[in-house]
Amino acid sequence: MEKPFAITLDVGSSLANHTGSWRTKRPLYVDRLPPCNNACPAGENIQGWLFHAEAGNYEAAWRVLVQDNPMPAVMGRVCYHPCESSCNRGQFDEAVGINSVERFLGDEAIKQGWKFDAPPKASGKKVLIVGAGPSGLSAAYHLARLGHQVTIFEAGPFAGGMMRFGIPKYRLPREVLEAEIKRILDMGVVLKLNSRVDNILDSMKSAGFDAAFLAVGAHIGKRTFIPAGSAAKVLDAVGVLHSMEGEEKPMLGRRVVVYGGGNTAIDVARTAKRLGATEAIIVYRRTREKMPAHDFEVEEALQEGILIKWLSTIKQVSDAGALTIEKMALDDKGFPQPTGEFETLESDSLVLALGQDVDLSLLNGVPGLEIKDGVVQVSPALMTGYPGIFAGGDMVPSERTVTVAVGHGKKAARNIDAWLLGSSYEAAPKHELANYEKLNPWYYNDAPKTMRPMLETLRRQSTFDEVQGGLDESSAQFEARRCMSCGNCFECDNCYGVCPDNAVIKLGPGKRFEFNLDYCKGCGICVSECPCGAIKMVPEEV
């Protein structure tokens, strides 16, 4: 139409006016480090795999997960999930049940028979791994993914290490463990059972290995000096749990006393109960608050009828198995001090769960090694003092958990790979932490955590059935959807919607967003209203 001059205008013509020139600060999309990822000893991209699980795309979720950790079904059962302790959602209602979703994904993978991608072109390099525990298996998996030929020498008759010999069946059913180990071996990893390495250098030389990763674990139960009668039955916890895997179940009697305060002590006491002990008593020298065992395990044990004697040390064991117990009291600094008060506790057997030592005999004669406090010292790259020999898991200084071991395996694999290529591995710099203050929690619905089903107490006391059940699909998805996606865009469209200047361009599913700096005036609403803290303002450059 032939419009009247000036007072009538063509629609949308203000696009010619680039209001971006008003700006003094500009918004920037960022990926901040979610606290769960930050806390994960295995270095999992938890927010990353939950993102796919939220959408019901479980295989994609699993594939993101196994980029870091090849054993999600195991992990979803035995990990102490520091991710959940640090989850921002814990400050909102309750932490996301990351561990239960991980288990769901792991179980789903087993059910669906998902396989790892075939390794790329072979590197031609051969790596020897000693020990088929969590760190050894993890290293094998990651090295195989990098194209290296991997052989594992395992001294025992089964693969799994402490996952098999340290963790009771009621926490980790063996078929789950077997399935996840098999999937790693299916990548072409060679496992040699009953193959003890007595001298690492000889073993490497004999088969022409280019590098080695030592992951023999810590299997020797620690002893403490307790005067005991010759007929007294004193066992060590690792031994007891180990024998659970054989034909001959350990004979512990009706009254079993476990000495120690770690998770192993709990495991042994609960195992004893299942083996028929009428009384399973843990004796621990400090209080519940000070106990190193995880509180949920303590709670589960108490539910199953395990008794715990706090602030108690065992001074003496008689032939008949009577234990002399001394009461302790905490001093000002929280250390237990003897009180001089004694009592007697009858027992059929005493199991010592006081920690484990490493069998370092295979390292005899290797030059350059440093051993301190019974463990092998390694560089930040997990290499021992001998070039090409790396070590991880319980045999190096660290927290002794399956998850830490799996993390060591990955880290070692990356460093071995770099070393084999004559370079060094540089981890990508960590993103800024997405702490709770960076979020806008208004946008999240109140949605309490989904509890995993628990086996009824009676069956827990008498059988080795798995205590904790898994989530069904809808619950797992619900739980995944409780993830607040801290620090990482989850495409909620908020920035796209709240911009008064239409200066956010939506790029389409999976492609996130982009700022149109021609029009962005720098008001910062997108930053304030981003639920997950994935945008920040930066000063405009002159």
């Binding site: 032939e2 419009k3 009247p4 001059f5 000036a6 007072i7 009538t8 063509d10 629609v11």
Partner: protein, 417 residues
């Protein structure tokens, strides 16, 4: 078809034949009969399709018309006096936006003191509002001008005010030649808006225009009115072809050939003036009368053409520019720029005061002798004025002026008949 009817009824019928699509009505005397008539036609279905909207004020009436016109509907409303002033902001807006609304102004005085009777103060207050202003001499012309107004306004995208004297015309029963629908349809094509609010072709109407283009926008409004100066005679000629009547145009000179004295006026007073002039011509005086139909645009050239050979010009005005005198006179003077004529302004008929032939004779005799003051108030009761001025001199709290004068007059309606 000849018909004896009230002026308002004649106008309502003419407007209806123009097929208006939206009519907004707010009551104010003396225009009310027009919209009442239209309202009945719409409600009965005689005038369809058409929306008749009873609005809450004149401001709303003009605003509804603005919206309707911008959405492409032929829109009409009517008002008078205070009502016109109440809608002023929207009046300016309609012309500024170039919306061809037609509005009847049944001319009426503006208070205070409140007065419902006729003069031209209301329309004259809007002389600069950008609307075309046409003044009707009688009911026939009022009827005809409405038909021409739609045609003119829509062709130029400008609103048109048809001014007819309140009561004198609106309430007078006269014989009119009522056109047929066919004639009106032949003369007035359907409204094709220059701009329209339509989702099929969206535009933003009513932008804020700053110094960079405001002058140009105002100039274009002026240029359009200049175009109207050419269109109005053309439209009148076409009108004559179809309707057989000479109606409209810019100016209507009457016996101005060889006239030494010419009276200039607008509206219904022209009838009385013509009678007076006839009598004076019979008495041998060289005198004529010039009626202005188009007050805006003001036909400077046409007026100069008529007046240039006269010796004196008397502008008879039904409005007062307080503090100077005439409104029309000022414009007429501009038409006479450079000519040496005696010019007189006569203020007459304010608030409905009758303009009698006797008074006109007396005044014109004075004018012809060049004894008239430059600004003369016809039939001004000097005694009343003096008495009031005296009162004011005597005491501070002299009381309300209008009420005092009414008391002096004695009979309120004495001067109206």
């Amino acid at each position: 078809m000849l018909k004896q009817c009230e002026g308002s009824h004649a106008v309502a019928s003419a407007v209806a034949m123009c097929r208006p699509e939206v009519i907004c009505a707010y009551p104010i005397s003396p225009q009310t009969h027009i919209v009442e008539g239209l309202g009945e036609m719409v409600k009965s279905g005689k005038l369809a399709p058409c929306e008749f909207i009873n609005v809450e004020s004149e401001f709303a009436a003009m605003s509804v018309a603005i919206g309707a016109s911008a959405a492409g509907a032929r829109s009409y409303t009517a008002t008078a006096s205070q009502g016109l002033l109440f809608m002023v902001e929207a009046v300016y807006n309609a012309s500024g936006l170039g919306l061809p609304i037609v509005m009847t102004v049944a001319n009426r005085a503006i208070g205070a003191p409140i007065n419902i009777w006729n003069d031209h103060s209301d329309s004259m207050s809007q002389r600069d509002c950008g609307w075309i202003q046409l003044f009707a001499e009688n009911n026939q012309e009022a009827l005809d001008l409405h038909i021409q107004a739609f045609r003119l306004g829509e062709e130029l995208s400008l609103p048109v005010m048809v001014c007819m004297d309140g009561f004198i015309l609106t309430h007078a029963y006269e014989r009119v030649d009522m056109p047929t629908q066919e004639q009106v349809d032949a003369y007035l094509p359907p409204f094709v808006p220059r701009q329209i609010l339509d989702p099929a072709e969206p535009v933003s109407i009513g932008a804020m225009v700053g110094p960079e283009a405001f002058t140009e926008v105002r100039y274009l409004a002026h240029a359009k009115q200049m175009q109207a100066l050419e269109l109005i005679p053309q439209h009148a000629a076409e009108f004559q072809k179809i309707f057989g009547r000479d109606s409209g145009g810019l100016v209507r000179p009457y016996r101005c050939e060889d006239a030494e004295t010419i009276v200039v006026a607008l509206g219904s007073v022209l009838g009385t003036l013509k009678d007076t002039i006839d009598e004076m011509r019979d008495a041998g005086h060289k005198i004529g009368v010039l009626g202005i139909v188009s007050f805006r645009p003001f036909p400077l050239q046409a007026i100069r053409e008529v007046l240039k050979d006269a010796k004196r010009v008397v502008v008879l005005e039904k409005s007062l520019a307080v503090g100077i005198g005439g409104i029309v006179s000022t414009d007429v003077r501009m038409a006479l720029s450079g000519l040496h004529l005696h010019g007189y302004t006569v203020i007459a008929g304010l608030g409905g005061r009758a303009i009698t032939k006797a008074s006109l004779h007396k005044m014109l005799q004075q004018a012809m002798r060049d004894e008239l003051e430059h600004v003369t108030f016809l039939d001004l009761d000097h005694n009343l004025v003096k008495r009031h001025l005296e009162r004011e001199k005597q005491k501070r709290r002299s009381g309300p002026m209008a009420e005092n004068i009414l008391r002096d007059v004695g009979v309120v309606a004495a001067r109206i008949a």
